[in-house]
Symmetry: C2
Subunit: 257 residues, 2 copies
Amino acid sequence: MAYKRNHGEYVQPFQRLQVQLANLINNTTAGERLPSEPELAKQLGVSRATLREAMRTFEGQGLIRRRQGVGTFVVGHPQIIETGLEVLESIESLAKKINLPVTMGALNIAQVAANAQQAEALQVAEGTPLVQVSRVIRAQERPVAYLIDVLPEDVLTPAELREGFTGSVLDFLLRRGNPPLTQSLTEIRAVPAPSDVAHALEVQRGDVLLMFVARLFAVNGQVVDFSLSYFLPGYFKFHIVRSVVTEHAVVSNNSSG
Amino acid sequence: MAYKRNHGEYVQPFQRLQVQLANLINNTTAGERLPSEPELAKQLGVSRATLREAMRTFEGQGLIRRRQGVGTFVVGHPQIIETGLEVLESIESLAKKINLPVTMGALNIAQVAANAQQAEALQVAEGTPLVQVSRVIRAQERPVAYLIDVLPEDVLTPAELREGFTGSVLDFLLRRGNPPLTQSLTEIRAVPAPSDVAHALEVQRGDVLLMFVARLFAVNGQVVDFSLSYFLPGYFKFHIVRSVVTEHAVVSNNSSG
DNA sequence: GAGTGGTCTAGACCACCCC
DNA sequence: GGGTGGTCTAGACCACTCA
């Protein structure tokens, strides 16, 4: 091991650490446990804080998994759920296509009063009673997505939802066939994991997540569902085809090349 | 019940801190400097490390800006560049529509040999000479996006690029009118900022960024451009319309009303 | 109870900016 | 030179898991 210190080219411990960790992870069989943090920090000649910071990258990529009270484990390259964003489809449906078993956990169905954000999204008055359903989607032995849906009670009641709900509000509404749905308007964000989401997804607070904020529309124009979806990077691949539009007809600017 | 903990209502300093910081930021005029980190840490009764960790959230939202050697400043709510993802359009073009001045900085045009990732994306052999252009897009007094484009030399030479390049490879190719372009296949990711990108965007390493990995196609099917784009959250809003597809029929023309 | 990861502290040194 | 944010350290206590 090269315990290189201030020798000519100055390199932050962090950069050297990432290389060392990458080697360590690559040379460790999937499923095996890494040395404990204090031990590894001592071996690599850094403090525990620095070690943990360097580890965050690898956890974000899904290469390692840290479990409090248990240890840090190397995981194999996960199977990836891939989809184009042009079409709205549930995770369950996508997973089924690639024979990837997914389960639902931490289901919580509750009645809530619309807050400002929900009221605006669903086009109802603040305080309107709503149905909120949150749950975790698990695949490959770990949570990979955290989903929260909020719907007006005239669309879906808690009682209805409790029977036959398997993880997807979209699939539930499609099976019921009512109301007829048309499309979803989805905003895409990158966010640091809030505490509650981090806990549900078993990652560290502040870890990077991909987030969708979506409104689902019925054919009559009503917003029937407002959802927040958090995805663990490394387990999903979202892509989209973007058309190139030429602007001949719009404006002719005189910036010749 | 959602916040129930095993041993009572224990709250970490971190959560308190976020509320305190939010109040402090909201009660500070945009452009003003916050107290220095050691001072603020003392005032709020936490260590500097904890304070900085809590600050990361606000920096990610674009509410504060930290400048080494200068201080931490409160910035107003930024003007947001919003676009649907169905159409590929340059940041410059989008900014122009909302009268938002943007400039380009840190331009670097170089010839590189294709690495494995670039070779696969551009469908060329590894080691093929390519043109790589990286630059920062600045808006509202700060960098907001970091863009890297890689193109085969038969599409664009460094010499061509150096004259009249204003920040967008797409716009450059469209102005030139050759080759004729059709579409871009874009993958959407959430990533922690790598060191070099963090430096270019003047954020902390590990801060959350939205990232596009895209291949631009010509009408003949050739991949003419492979690009990596990093966006600062808080300055962009990307959305997309997703169609609901029922599983019963592939082609159903139910003109329901 | 022993060992793990999760959080926090107090202090140090560095790179950078401005006077 | 003096002050700022950026990084790193050594150590402490906590919550969690499992024997």
